[in-house]
């Protein structure tokens, strides 16, 4: 099987919490494939009748697959998309996976103003988003890139603050952290490769319109 087979539409889906919701959404517009699961050992899962193929990848890699054209379209959180700085089409806000990116500090060590944190250390999975945010305030920071358990940073004295995503705020509370600055909202987005969007325009556009209808119906219900 040649992955570059042009009759197929290749969709990159992220493992983890967005996977199930994404797969359900595609199923609603009639696109699914046997054995589609993020636990599957198979990396590429095709539906030959519908000429569609899913690849399941690590979250942060989805924009890369799409930018290179290895996948035509993908679903990814806006936070990861902005952080990746990839040149892709952002076609649709899918509404789910809602969270926001913010800055938090230990309650006990809270300073008066944001500017008081200038030149301190920030632990984050999102150094680009964080740098963009702080540069608006003319603040230079030291970014410490972590790949998980960001809250640990201030607790063990690795950093003075964190920039991370928050859904409910429970994790922050449990770790005695307090949100002091809102940075951006994030939800799941449908993205497309810039060439695929042109060369497979009719298929992708039909899919976008179908997804829009499903989303609109869900919003009403």
């Amino acid at each position: 099987m040649q992955l570059a087979d042009q009759d197929y539409l290749t969709v990159a889906l992220p493992k983890g919490k967005l996977f199930g919701l994404s797969a359900d959404l595609f199923a609603k517009i009639g696109y699914t494939a046997e054995g589609l699961s993020d636990k599957s050992r198979k990396l590429v899962i095709s539906n030959d009748e519908k000429k569609i193929r899913f690849i399941v990848s690590k979250t942060a890699d989805v924009p890369t697959y799409v930018e290179y054209g290895a996948a035509d379209i993908g679903i990814i959180g806006k936070d990861v998309l902005v952080e990746s700085q990839k040149d892709v089409y952002e076609l649709l806000d899918l509404g789910f996976g809602k969270c926001h990116v913010m800055m938090a500090v230990p309650k006990a060590a809270k300073r008066e103003k944001l500017a008081d944190y200038a030149h301190t250390r920030v632990a984050t999975k999102f150094p680009h988003i964080a740098a963009q945010f702080f540069s608006q305030y003319g603040m230079q920071m030291e970014y410490i890139k972590l790949n998980g358990s960001i809250e640990l940073g201030p607790i063990v004295g690795l950093s003075e603050s964190i920039v991370d995503i928050v859904e409910t705020g429970t994790t922050l509370k449990e770790n005695n952290l307090e949100e002091i600055a809102y940075i951006m909202d994030a939800t799941a987005r449908l993205i497309a490769n810039r060439v695929s969007f042109k060369l497979k325009f009719d298929r992708i556009n039909t899919m976008v319109q179908d997804l829009r209808q499903v989303l609109a119906a869900q919003a009403k219900a």
Binding site: A4, Q6, E67, Y68, G69, A70, Q85, D87, V88, Y89, E90, L91, L92, D93, R189, N193, R194, V195, S196, K198, L199, F201, N205
Partner: protein
């Protein structure tokens, strides 16, 4: 004392082209140079370094961080050229000022940009292209597009699509709704970032009737064959947008005469730097390559910035991208042609030289041994160097 280790790295974003790649690159460039000449485009070679001020003249400040810079002996800032259109505009306003119009110029050269490198995108890369200056007619635009198609075909590609749009169409739509300068800028930014979600959000906030909002939302989705022009015509109310569509249908008519219309699709949401382009814009894509092969359009203001107001149109093609597409098409690494390895026994050296001359005359790629060899030795060399055939003079 330990001897210092040699540094054998090359700078970030640059690359060496070895035999097969270099030969493929040379072949493509030779074919393109021939095509440019046949179409009456004269080649120019300009300096790799220019004054920074010249390169950034007329373009937005956002360009500057992309340029590779250095200083000259009087401490003026120099930059490596990031494309060839600006140096050619400089030439057109200076040494080529009195040439009869239209002026048709071609180039094949390396250009430099600070980039996050990836396959097909390097800091130093090679471009071939043309600029046609001194004509505002659709005939000039059609010629440039037809030439781009011819170049891709000459290079060996068949399976590609040219998407054709018009900067004035988008500008006209925005003007017709009296959008504020801020809103226009935001909308353009969202278009250039290919962010349809931001466009939707922006449009939702505007104080416009619903059908007008729908027109703005549809902008990036106006993609289709000839029938799209009629659909767009019904949407576009302003004179400016309709003129843009008329211009496109005229270009398309001419492309039919050139016999290349089958490669062309309309894409009115095509997004290239909208502050720079003033008329038709196009990009060429091929399946399996995640970025455009070539791109171009009409830029009537650039030459005015050099004090020589003059309409102009042109295109540039990425040579490495064409190479990638060819490689993908062939589904194997590119190889340089190697026909004959010529070995000989002792005392046959002059005979071998004469034989090689004869074979080369017949168009073969021939390597002659530099000393007598046994037939078995010659066979080894032929295999190791991947020559198709061994000629041995016993």
């Amino acid at each position: 004392m330990e001897k210092e280790k040699l540094v054998l790295e090359i700078p970030y974003g640059t690359r060496d082209f070895l035999f097969a790649e270099a030969s493929c690159k040379r072949d493509i460039e030779t074919k393109l140079a021939g095509t440019f000449r046949q179409w009456g485009y004269d080649e120019v070679v300009t300096p790799t370094i220019e004054y920074l001020d010249n390169l950034t003249l007329g373009s937005s400040r956002s360009l500057e961080p992309q340029l590779l810079k250095l200083f000259d002996q009087s401490n003026r800032t120099l930059a490596l050229r990031h494309e060839m259109t600006t140096p050619i505009a400089r030439l057109a306003a200076s040494r080529l000022k009195d040439e009869p119009l239209p002026l048709k110029v071609s180039y094949i050269s390396n250009v430099f940009r600070r980039e996050q490198t990836q396959m097909g995108r390097q800091c130093e890369f090679y471009q071939a292209g043309v600029e046609l200056m001194g004509s505002a007619s659709a005939a000039a635009d059609a010629e440039v597009i037809a030439l781009a198609v011819t170049c891709l075909r000459e290079a060996g590609l068949e399976d590609f699509t040219i998407c054709l749009g018009q900067a004035e169409f988008v500008n006209g739509i925005m003007a017709q709704y009296n959008l504020s300068a801020d809103t226009q800028a935001e909308l353009q930014e969202a278009l250039e970032q290919r962010n349809l979600v931001a466009i939707d959000a922006l449009v939702d906030q505007l104080d416009l009737p619903n059908n007008s909002k729908e027109v703005l939302r549809q902008l990036p989705l106006l993609n289709g064959g000839e029938e799209l022009l009629q659909r767009a015509y019904d949407m576009a109310l302003s004179e400016q947008s309709r003129r843009a569509l008329d211009n496109l249908s005229e270009i398309y008519r001419l492309l039919r005469s050139y016999g290349v219309a089958q490669y062309v699709r309309f894409d009115l949401g095509i997004i290239r730097d909208l502050s720079y382009y003033t008329g038709m814009i196009f990009e060429g894509y091929t399946a399996g390559l995640g970025f455009p092969l070539c791109g171009g359009g009409r830029y009537d203001h650039l030459l005015a910035d050099f004090g020589n107001a003059c309409p102009a149109t042109g295109f540039a093609l990425g040579i490495e991208r064409v190479m990638l597409a060819l490689q993908q098409k062939a589904a194997r690494p590119l190889a340089a042609r190697k026909d004959v390895y010529l070995g000989y026994a002792a005392g046959k050296a002059s005979e071998a030289i004469a034989k090689a001359a004869e074979l080369r005359q017949a168009g073969k790629v021939v390597e002659v041994a530099l000393r007598p060899e046994t037939q078995a030795e010659a066979k080894e060399v032929q295999k190791a160097k991947a020559y198709r055939e061994l000629v041995y003079l016993a």
